[in-house]
Symmetry: C2
Subunit: 451 residues, 2 copies
């Protein structure tokens, strides 16, 4: 008997973990939804996806995660964060943009942002994102070594962008070395962890000269990393670009050779039809951040037109000073509803499109479409489960409808990143979140005292 069993199991594929649940949303090219499905993981990769019953015959798993009553889906991708700004969450709201930025956020940053505060506040952001189902985020801030260390410690996947501006910034008192400092950051972190990719984040066309932008983009090309920039976020930005360069920001960046498939632009609120066409042709990635754009009254980005034109758009939350949380489930909901009312058409921005934007769309915008964003064999094992057995998710007719219009980050039960269990039944596996919250509360009490 024992010999027979051995022979039979020898024929089976051995995997490390089998996750079984009521539904698997694959977001493969057919957008298949598998009822009573399972995902098999081997190391940091997905080995197989299919029906639990047939997988059981072919696969032998060291461990099984029974997610009965749950939906299994790709982890969400937060395309735009300033993660360390969790320490300013709710510090100043409901203010005119200039007053908010110049009287509150900039002074608080100047006084309190250090590598240590960035480390703890990014760790808090990572915990918040993991708890709400984000498995990859794309960041940009100063003292970004602190963010990189937090990513390394937290188990989350991230693109970590060192900020560049042409004036003194936290950690870079001399702006003449801003690009050099960013390159040094890239060299410190490249190829150190497979989960962590360094990047350079030039703040905007109005805070970075053409020379700075060109130099920073050259470094990104040399090291094959992502270049990031805020683009066409506000009316004031357009006016300033017109005044300084005699053209709108999209044209300006295009002329400088910045817009290509290895660049990610944030917001694109104020882009016209011609510019949308240019964005599509260039292959550039765009982050759509509806809640931040609403809260700061920046405007409504033309998302439906961008999607129709084939622009690679993903979803972001922006920093916690302008949202004020990092829950992408809520961001999907807001995006879906905002564009319907803005265009007067309830059929726009469908639930399926929004989930696709927050997973596969984000991966494509990052140039990581082969690595994350869907549950397919060979991709990185980044997945989450959603607990469907809750009053506000009952009954269920269509999974994507629930993910967008009814679910919230708190409905995420388990999180696996890079094949590693990071959250199990809403308990973080390794991180001490009480310690992390305590550290950020200490930072906040200093900010409160000197603000």
């Amino acid at each position: 008997m024992s010999e027979v069993r051995d022979r039979r199991s020898a024929e089976k594929t051995r995997v490390d973990l089998l996750v079984t649940g009521d539904y698997v949303l694959t977001f493969n090219h057919k957008k298949e939804v598998v009822e009573k499905g399972a995902v098999a993981l081997k190391g940091d990769r997905i080995a197989a996806v299919g029906q639990a019953s047939s997988m059981g015959e072919k696969i032998e798993a060291k461990e099984v995660l029974d997610a009965s009553g749950c939906l299994i889906m790709p982890g969400l991708i937060n395309l735009h964060t300033h993660a360390a700004m969790t320490c300013f969450r709710g510090l100043a709201d409901d203010l005119p943009l200039h007053e908010w930025l110049h009287e509150h956020i900039f002074p608080a940053e100047a006084a309190h942002i250090t590598e240590e505060t960035v480390y703890w506040a990014t760790l808090l952001a990572s915990v918040e994102m993991i708890r709400s189902g984000t498995t990859t985020f794309c960041d940009g801030y100063f003292y970004e070594d602190g963010a990189a260390k937090a990513v390394a410690a937290s188990g989350i996947r991230a693109i970590v962008g060192q900020g560049v501006v042409d004036f003194p910034a936290p950690g870079i008192p001399d702006p003449r070395i801003n690009v050099k400092a960013a390159e040094a950051f890239v060299l410190r972190w490249q190829n150190k962890y497979s989960r962590l990719m360094p990047s350079v984040f030039c703040h905007s066309v109005y805070t970075c000269s053409p020379e700075t932008l060109i130099a920073a983009k050259a470094i990104c090309k040399e090291h094959k990393i992502l270049f990031q920039i805020h683009l066409a976020e506000t009316e004031a930005e357009l006016e300033e670009a017109e005044q300084r360069y005699g053209m709108r920001p999209v044209e300006h960046l295009l002329k400088l050779g910045i817009l290509d498939a290895d660049t990610l632009c944030h917001h694109a609120v104020r882009v016209n039809e011609k510019e949308i066409e240019l964005l599509a042709q260039s292959g550039v990635g765009i982050s759509h951040n509806p809640e931040s754009n609403m809260k700061l009254a920046s405007g409504v980005a033309p998302l439906p037109k961008m999607l129709t034109a084939g622009v690679k758009v993903g979803l972001g939350t922006d920093g916690c000073a302008s949202n004020n949380n990092m829950d992408l489930f809520q961001e999907m909901d807001t995006a879906a509803k905002l564009h319907k009312v803005h265009q007067g058409d309830p059929s726009l921005s469908s639930a399926v499109e929004m989930v696709e934007m927050a997973t596969k769309g984000g991966a494509a915008a990052l140039g990581m479409a082969d690595i994350v964003g869907s549950l397919e064999p060979g991709k990185k094992a980044d997945l989450i489960t959603i607990d469907l057995n809750q009053p506000h998710l009952t009954p269920m007719y269509e999974p994507c409808s629930h993910l967008v219009y009814a679910a919230r980050g708190a409905d995420v039960r388990d999180v696996i990143i890079d094949g590693r269990m990071v959250m199990l039944k809403r308990q973080l596996v390794e991180m001490d979140e009480q310690e992390i919250m305590g550290k950020v509360r200490e930072i906040a009490s200093r900010i409160r005292g000197r603000h």
Copy 2:
């Protein structure tokens, strides 16, 4: 010693329950926030509100609920629901309005709405609302006896409106008796439970004739109950009113004598400045339902103008077919952000205004300002606690900012309604939610089969 202690305690006010927490948001006329505060309850009423330390000297409580790490606030008021529509949650989304209503919702209602389905689906809605911090809701639907029974069973406070339309409706095949049936409903439920107030809900000016509206309003006056109606929700409604009555809906209702302090109108999306003035003068209550208005692309109600004009506005979710959840925390967030971007002014719709609208504002719109909506001695003991010790609520600079921009329904820890503990540490005290979810899943499987 024991004698001394007895004498001392004899001098103290005896209460049933003392709830202590890190902050008490009173929403009294000074909007006082008490740090390290407490609320004392006696029977179904609030006996005292103050600092926990000084309350301890004056009050002897049979029981203490220690909500350390939590914020205590008035329960939220959901001003507009069709609670039983939880059974259609996500049945049909992202469709043009006419197709959604006529090909999906109306046929499903005709085939599946009975007193029993209304009972279970309203019970599910009540559980969902309790879990997300709503302690009072204002409903309108058919077979509303089912809703009233669910309210009685759930422990929640509600205004329960029997629906009236001039065509055959669930439970009222003969529209000639629609108003009589509503009156019979009122008589069955009036003064039966202090938590439950019957109401008459005339659907709209385009589904109810002037005669029906006048007769229904007369009954409401006679029985001193709330009259409800959808008002100026869509452009089509305006066109139809112009065509039939040669005037806009507000003027039409004003002429019929419908608009007074005992009437609650839902939506008021398409009202001009003159009409806003008329709404303010009439003392009528208005429910603002931003997420439903966005999802159905109905438009953006002029909330900031209504608030400035002194219109009594509260917040609602509308039914689950057009939202698709009943989380008022999310609704506050959406309302705050929507009006900022819509008007291009980030200082509009502040966090404090939004929380006030979801508590005190709702109470005023219902004519219940003396009963609920704030934590003040003599008012009904309807309160909730929010667990602040969570990553997405860390750090905290300003409580209302967190309630609107960072918190979600899932952050509600305890719920007390009418002095009774309904949810304790996220566990429902009396209701069996697995049974309730199971019953609604059965209803949904029938809907799925015949839809």
